[in-house]
Symmetry: C3
Subunit: 271 residues, 3 copies
Amino acid sequence: VDRSLVTLLTDYGGDDEFVGVCHAVIERIAPEARVIDLSHGIPRHDVRQGAAVLANALPYASPGVHLAIVDPGVGSTRKAIVVRTVEEERLLVGPDNGLLAPSIERFGGAAEAVDVSLSPARLEPVSATFHGRDVFAPVAAHLALGEAPSELGEPLEAGELAPLERTPPGIDPGRRVEASVAYVDRFGNAALELSADELVDSGLKLGHRVWVEAGGVTLDAVYLLTFADVPAGALLLYLDSYGNLALAVNRASAAERLGINSGDRVVLRPA
Amino acid sequence: VDRSLVTLLTDYGGDDEFVGVCHAVIERIAPEARVIDLSHGIPRHDVRQGAAVLANALPYASPGVHLAIVDPGVGSTRKAIVVRTVEEERLLVGPDNGLLAPSIERFGGAAEAVDVSLSPARLEPVSATFHGRDVFAPVAAHLALGEAPSELGEPLEAGELAPLERTPPGIDPGRRVEASVAYVDRFGNAALELSADELVDSGLKLGHRVWVEAGGVTLDAVYLLTFADVPAGALLLYLDSYGNLALAVNRASAAERLGINSGDRVVLRPA
Amino acid sequence: VDRSLVTLLTDYGGDDEFVGVCHAVIERIAPEARVIDLSHGIPRHDVRQGAAVLANALPYASPGVHLAIVDPGVGSTRKAIVVRTVEEERLLVGPDNGLLAPSIERFGGAAEAVDVSLSPARLEPVSATFHGRDVFAPVAAHLALGEAPSELGEPLEAGELAPLERTPPGIDPGRRVEASVAYVDRFGNAALELSADELVDSGLKLGHRVWVEAGGVTLDAVYLLTFADVPAGALLLYLDSYGNLALAVNRASAAERLGINSGDRVVLRPA
């Protein structure tokens, strides 16, 4: 693991100085760290979408220190955590609200977990609202310096970590698949929370026509490889570039057409 | 001072290539410089907000070269300046329009000031509109190379520097505080221009109920530690993460509710 | 040429993780590369504007590896290319759709061109929609490692490269100039596709009054050096900071006033 690599993913957006101040804090503690911004455009407080985007992006990044902040509970009693993954020994840092859970799972589970809520690395005084600056960035920077997670907080059992709230898909093979929207990108493409195995179980196959029910609307779609295979304006199911089953409208927004957002349920039935 | 650290703060936004070209110019002159973007989301031409955000952010950054550009007078006769601060020897670079003033003050005043409007470091021909590229970035890059400010322009008296236009707060202790809005963040939280000392003078105390008058509206608020202590939609006074007295509405926008922007006056009276 | 410098320009925007994942991919292959983001705010699929902004920005950057992605044809048969320029030996990487053409021309033409559509550097499996991650970023990273373009794909004749579709200006010296809009910046300033030579041919001179015809509207303007020389709201012609003839409205948007966008035609006649 190259500890000097720190990746950042937040819902801080690009208008304020929040991201810049986190960069400055990391640089001040660990001037040799190289910081890569994965995304700061997660919709505010959308833990589910942040979790999905993080798990999609991390496999493309070198193993390192991976800080993620989507934290509607800042200032409450939720823990701040560091998790070392079984595979690749990645160090994930963030709030204990499920944001890190799919990434932990993707890398084989938690080999070690530490509660850094009261870490000696924190910047004092710790503000009530900006834990990115006062807790998370300093902890990530100390990890980048090579300090062990155990030096930065109190040990936690992996079983104590908060899961990502997720309504499991309902699958009636060949008849009906009900799944939640994992995330919506800026083109309005909507990825579903459906693992590769669940997709196989569902019996959905390339080329099939499908009824899509969401938000009171029912539309027909085809399950295809690429946008280019349907006319402009047509709805399709496809595997997005991360391998997730997703809904799209060629040259328009599926999220708008169906009135859906991350967390909403979608029902698919063979037509 | 680590001269190879350059921080950037501008009102250039994220849509155009202005920020990227400044990075490229700095890299070309000083390839070893490490550049941190503090913020490029300052509202266009809002010198007051830029000045407040810069002074808030800099204490979290290592001392280095700190370039700030919010420059409604580009192309006019306003000077371009470099200021070395008394404390920490930070090198501030920007237009002489008050943008740097609160940061200079925060670091003990100006130990040295230089007019770099006609600096030999400029890129020729100097455009009328893009001094970030042609004047400020090259000057910052030459400072990052270790050149002395005095090599890059003509000496100035600290007394000649433009102050930030600021209407001082009106304080009638225990009865009435009138102050300007320093900045509004993307959540609509509005920080007031009120120093820690002035806040003490005002007699405002945690837990007090306060009438807030702004833009023809009068609303009641409580002065509290965190958002979580009021119901959604309620107005509160609190100390923001930089220690500034600020107005917020829990889960909504105080700036919208009160119709205020940076520079507007707000009156507080005990209820 | 400093191969370890990689510049990026895309239409990926700031809301999604596309840019961050490209950074991660480059870092994973070439950890020593320094990456500068020139712009990610090119309007989606606007090849013409991307081409103009790239050609404007590159002369300010050190020669290196220059990756540009505005790629409406992703997933189709358009090639992915690397071009080495005659002057400065810059390595341009992107889709073969004209995006790179003005930059190639600015640096003396193509000394070498390579088709990297099926490059051994690609990440497998190559997705249908995210060639930035799977093709372009890996190829750029391998160039940053010092590999030769010829190791990364199949040779192409310079003459086979797609030109940028461009309707040449129509010039009737002293009477009429008709030119396309090259790009519109976020202030609504609109640069015209008119080379320095064509501008001389046109007979337009500083201080002249000009009728501007676009989108069914005819307005009068003056050809001046700076915005400050006209009243707020007045239309002017000026040379923008890259030396392109451009239309602007002092303190407002010329693009909105005239209803124009990149690609639209504008007619200028002496008044």
